[in-house]
């Protein structure tokens, strides 16, 4: 596939996946700068893996790219000062948040540190509200394995968030 063909395919994929990528990355970052950075990583990942994304069963692959980009962006941010600038956080007035912004950001940060399959499973389950059948299909595994990924991810998150809160 030459460059012009890749470019054409990329524009087509952009139209298909930009909405999904924007939603996932915004929810996982909660910060303008971090979001922009993560989106750039995700676009780069899409460009580098364009052949895989154009394959028939590529739906799960976009999650992999999104979560990898999210982790990279968080690592870059944590490497700088480990804190999210308060000025860039956009408060969502419609959200009925059960926790303060600090806890939400802590959970987001810990999601970025989870193993790949676990972070994908938890994002599909709780951020995008997929059922286990869909998660298993996208992760290319059984439903039991998908449940196992979600429960392991929850356990890890609970432990890490509790440690940080104490």
């Amino acid at each position: 596939m030459d460059y012009s063909q890749r470019l054409e395919l990329f524009e087509k994929l952009k139209a298909d996946y930009t909405g999904l990528l924007t939603g996932i990355l915004w929810k996982l970052t909660g910060d303008k700068e971090l979001f922009a950075e993560a989106l750039q990583f995700a676009l780069l990942g899409m460009w580098q893996n364009i052949e895989k994304l154009s394959a028939p069963k590529a739906a799960g692959y976009i999650y992999r790219i999104a979560l990898s980009a999210n982790s990279k962006a968080w690592r870059t941010r944590i490497g700088k000062d480990g804190q999210i600038p308060k000025a860039n956080v956009i408060k969502n007035p419609t959200a009925n948040a059960p926790a303060d912004e600090e806890t939400l950001n802590l959970v987001r940060k810990e999601i970025s540190k989870l193993p790949e399959k676990q972070s994908q499973a938890i994002v599909m389950r709780y951020i995008n509200q997929h059922d286990y059948y869909e998660i298993a299909e996208k992760l290319n595994c059984t439903e039991d394995t998908a449940r196992s990924h979600v429960s392991k991810a929850l356990a890890t998150l609970r432990q890490r968030v509790s440690e940080k809160e104490d």
Binding site: E11, K14, T18, K32
Partner: protein, 146 residues
């Protein structure tokens, strides 16, 4: 923190809507990324023929230079001088005696013939010719027995 609380937090994160300015940022980022890709493509397509042409000229120049150097050295070179010089042995031709000595005439002629044949053979073979003194001694010995 229990599992329920954590699930509630996760669901609340998932329930957030994407604000309008974030959608705009996403659009701008995507467009600038594609513009960068297009720019790289345009740059590559302009540079590619120029680089190919430059490479061809460089290869031709190297070939011509190598040819010119080869030609120059070829014209100026000389054949190698042999390390072993062959010197032709001098032909020893004894002068014929003009003395009127009938007693020794027969044997003198034999010695002369022998010397001439030895000298002829000496050119083609590396064998050393017999010493003249030995030949003469042989002649005197044979004469004595006669």
């Amino acid at each position: 923190m229990n599992n329920e609380k954590l699930e509630q937090i996760l669901r609340s994160i998932g329930g957030q809507n994407v604000p309008a300015d974030i959608a705009r940022i996403a659009e701008q980022t995507t467009e600038s990324f594609i513009a960068a890709l297009r720019f790289i493509h345009a740059q590559q397509s302009v540079q590619a023929p120029f680089i190919v042409g430059l490479k061809r000229i460089a290869v031709a120049a190297v070939i011509l230079f190598a040819f010119a150097v080869g030609l120059m050295f070829g014209r100026l070179s000389k054949p190698l001088s042999p390390s072993v010089v062959f010197t032709e042995p001098a032909l020893v031709t004894p002068a014929l005696s003009t003395a009127d000595d009938s007693t020794h005439n027969f044997w003198r002629q034999k010695v002369v013939a022998l010397l001439q044949s030895e000298a002829r053979r000496g050119i083609q073979s590396s064998r050393q010719p017999r010493n003249l003194l030995d030949i003469y001694n042989q002649y005197v010995k044979e004469k004595h027995y006669d």
